[in-house]
Amino acid sequence: MRRSMFRVALAAFAVSAVLGQGSAFAASAEKGKAAFTKFGCWQCHGFQGQGSVATSNGKILAPDPLPWDTFSAFVRTSNTNMPPFTAKVVSDEDLADIYAYLQSIPKPADYKSIPLLNP
């Protein structure tokens, strides 16, 4: 319980730090892509945030990531199989870059236009 409260408080701080400072971070999709690899996000979510039923319970990060506040709060306070990533591990700047990377991933084609997905 104490740990959960700590996580919520931490997340609230992190979210307010990013949102409150507005343009304090010039988020970079390019840096975000590197951070996505460095901090191991790709391991469960795939290099394109496509997710997996085996590792991320089918959760798809991109395209169309969650709104920033939901996203960052989850990363900081996750109580699921995904451990919480505190600012000590992933800085607010890195997290914003990662978010920018996820936003930059293009939408996939409609599956109906891919012959192999319509055998």
């Binding site: 391991q43 795939g46 290099f47 496509q50 997996s52 395209p63 109580n79 199989n81 599956y111």
Partner: protein
């Protein structure tokens, strides 16, 4: 004066090496004296003369350095191992995948010379784990067990992981371990290191039964018994310790003639009729019954029965996929979450009922243990039919956490289903039939929605490099869909895409996983299954072969080429032990640390890169057609199509593909 060491050279007294086991002393040295002469000497009450030893002066040194067992006798008459082959031949065992070893040299020689290397045929393996894995895969296609021979102690130790997988996967394999039991007579040096008093002890905790025959007749009985036990559900591996001396002893020309017991298959155990009726009542009157299956369909008939049961109840079916139990194209096919709305759940041959109805979250709560939560409503009734309840061992508890069940039947699910179906038919009230039909309509819509969602999810990262596992899976399917195909392994976890997107309707189209999750199963099991598919008449075998799995014992590639076993292996090469990679990452993050990945992609010790393994070259070196590494998704389809043509011509082919992690 009698020697204190009667068997010693020059002692003048020779006692049969089996005496201490069988309690029967026979005159003459086993094999050292012609039977006729020995019999005459025995009849006269005389001690047979001892012949000079054939051992050269350097025997100990040679044995110690080479492990070679030196001939101590030339055995006249019919060798005991020929009788063993006679016994084996009565049981229709087609192959003996094995790695050769001195402790079973006598039966090896009998199999290939006396037995003509047919039924069974010896398949040259390069690792005992590969041999057992091949037998595991073979059975899941052919429905018939193979036997393997292993060197006592060292060979059996190599085989253990394969045996454990077969045990957890409920697959019969007959393992015979050569063992030179008689310490007073076995050659010195290495043969001693390779023998033990009870080699079976090594695998006793994860075999159904074992024995150590001490006479040829005992062998005949034990082998048929072993086969029968292995082939009675729940299936499982069995072990026979095969004494080297017993193999080499001649068949006695006096006394009772050896016979071979006739094998009659045991009928599988069925659920108790009263429990079947009670289960039928619950299911017939349920508002939302759900069926969960794991190793339910032992045969193609098991699939038909399950479809019949599901359609009768219009109940969703969650297939945990350790066999092809239920068609992936059927509208009643459902996902694990379907248990949450159930009021009655029937589990058929579940290895983990607890995890079917509970969720576990590895989130560090409860002092690091993780969080548990129920996934079902509190009043949900649980029914189980499982043959595994009839076979439990204390040490390796693969039945997992305890789950209270309302109606539990210790019996084989496939055998019990016909009576359960009939009982349900008679229990369904007339006024329930419309509601049951309505359940089916809702399931059809849910299934169509699920399929569309799944296909759209597969489209994400379709053109990315490394290649997505969805793209990998569908490129393979596109190349084989018009063939009679069989997916014989999918190791390394490709997010289950084949089971989600490929239309699997036949029992042979998916054979499940390793059982014990011992890495190294995929390569040998797929070769064994491909062998069975080849013999059935050219059925096309394909495997999704992971990198870490292949490197446990890649020599099985050579075995496939050597014995002309056609198999398409498409690599899911994500360049890491990915499960472990995620575990270490998770622990680093839980501990508020940045995982040390060194120069790799994953935490140190979990990546298979720097240098990257060129699996295509590895395969080529062992006689396979191979191509790779394929990193561009646009090149994948053409490479697989080329490989398919090679496999259709009767050769194995491997395509090395760099893939996304999952």
């Amino acid at each position: 004066m009698a020697s204190r060491n009667p068997g010693a050279k020059g002692s003048g007294l020779k006692v049969d090496r089996r005496k201490f086991l069988a309690g029967v002393a026979v005159a003459g040295a086993a094999g050292a004296v012609a039977p006729q002469a020995a019999n005459a000497a025995a009849a006269a009450g005389a001690t047979p003369a001892r012949l000079p030893s054939a051992l050269p002066p350097t025997a100990q040194t040679v044995a110690a350095e080479t492990g070679a067992v030196l001939d101590t006798a030339r055995v006249p008459g019919k060798p005991g191992s020929d009788y063993m082959v006679d016994v084996i031949k009565t049981l229709d065992i087609k192959y003996v995948p094995a790695n050769c070893a001195s402790s079973y040299r006598a039966i090896h020689e009998s199999l290939i010379d006396y037995g003509g290397n047919k039924m069974p045929e010896f398949l040259t393996c390069m690792h005992e784990e590969s041999a057992v894995g091949m037998a595991q895969g073979y059975f899941k296609i052919a429905g018939k067990p193979l036997m393997t021979l292993v060197h006592g102690t060292v060979g059996l130790q190599h085989a253990t992981m394969g045996i454990y997988n077969a045990w957890c996967d409920r697959v019969p394999v007959i393992i015979m371990g050569g063992n030179d039991l008689d310490a007073a007579h076995r050659p010195p040096g290495v043969p001693t290191f390779h023998s033990a008093q009870d080699i079976n002890a090594l695998v006793r905790d994860f075999t159904k039964w074992d024995d150590t025959p001490v006479s040829l007749q005992h062998f005949g009985q034990s082998f048929v018994r072993a086969y029968k036990i292995a082939m009675t559900p729940p299936y499982g591996p069995v072990m026979i310790s095969l004494d080297a001396g017993l193999q080499q002893e001649p068949v006695k020309e006096h006394g009772p003639a050896l016979y071979i017991p006739r094998y009659v298959a045991e009928s599988p155990p069925a659920g108790d009729p009263n429990a079947v009726r009670e289960a039928a009542k619950l299911l017939a009157n349920a508002q939302n019954p759900v069926i969960v299956v794991d190793r339910s369909a032992r045969t193609p008939n098991g699939v038909r029965l399950l479809v019949q049961l599901a359609e009768l109840l219009q109940a969703k079916v969650i297939d945990q996929q350790n066999r092809m139990n239920f068609p992936t194209t059927h509208y009643l096919n459902a996902q694990p979450g379907a248990v949450s709305g159930a009021d009655v759940i029937i589990g058929l041959e579940l290895s983990d009922y607890w995890a079917t109805v509970n969720a576990y979250t590895d989130n560090g709560e409860n002092d690091g243990v993780g969080a548990n939560a129920t996934r079902i409503k509190p009043d949900t009734k649980l029914i189980s039919i499982s043959s595994v309840d009839l076979l439990t061992k204390a040490n390796y508890q693969d039945f997992q956490r305890f789950q209270t069940i309302d109606v539990a039947m210790a019996g084989d699910a496939e055998t019990t289903l016909p009576s359960l179906i009939e009982a349900i038919k008679s229990e369904i009230p007339n006024d329930r039939k419309a509601a049951i039909d309505k359940r089916g309509e809702a399931a059809r819509k849910a299934f169509a929605d699920y399929q569309a969602r799944t296909r759209q999810a597969a489209a994400i990262a379709w053109d990315t490099s490394p290649i997505s596992t969805a793209r990998l899976s569908m490129e393979i399917y596109g190349a084989i869909k018009d063939l009679d195909w069989s997916l014989v392994a999918s190791e390394g976890n490709v997010s289950n895409w084949p089971n989600r997107l490929w239309p699997m309707e036949k029992h042979h189209q998916w054979i499940g996983r390793s059982g014990g999750y011992g890495v190294g199963y995929g390569a040998p099991a797929s070769v064994g299954a491909a062998l069975a598919n080849r013999d059935i008449g050219g059925r096309f075998s394909v495997s999704i072969q992971s990198d870490g799995d292949l490197m446990y014992a890649p020599g099985v590639l050579w075995t496939a080429a050597r014995h002309k076993i056609p198999l398409l292996a498409v690599m899911h090469n994500n360049r890491g032990y990915h499960q472990e990679l995620m575990h270490v990452q998770r622990l680093s993050t839980f501990r508020d640390r940045v995982a040390n990945i060194g120069n790799d992609l994953g935490p140190i010790g979990t990546s298979i890169m720097n240098p990257d393994i060129e699996y295509h070259k590895l395969a080529e070196s062992m006689g396979w057609w191979a191509k790779g590494p394929i990193k561009d998704p646009a090149l994948l389809g053409p490479a697989i199509k080329e490989a398919v043509e090679v496999v259709k011509s009767g050769q194995p082919a491997l395509v090395n593909v760099w893939t996304q992690p999952r």
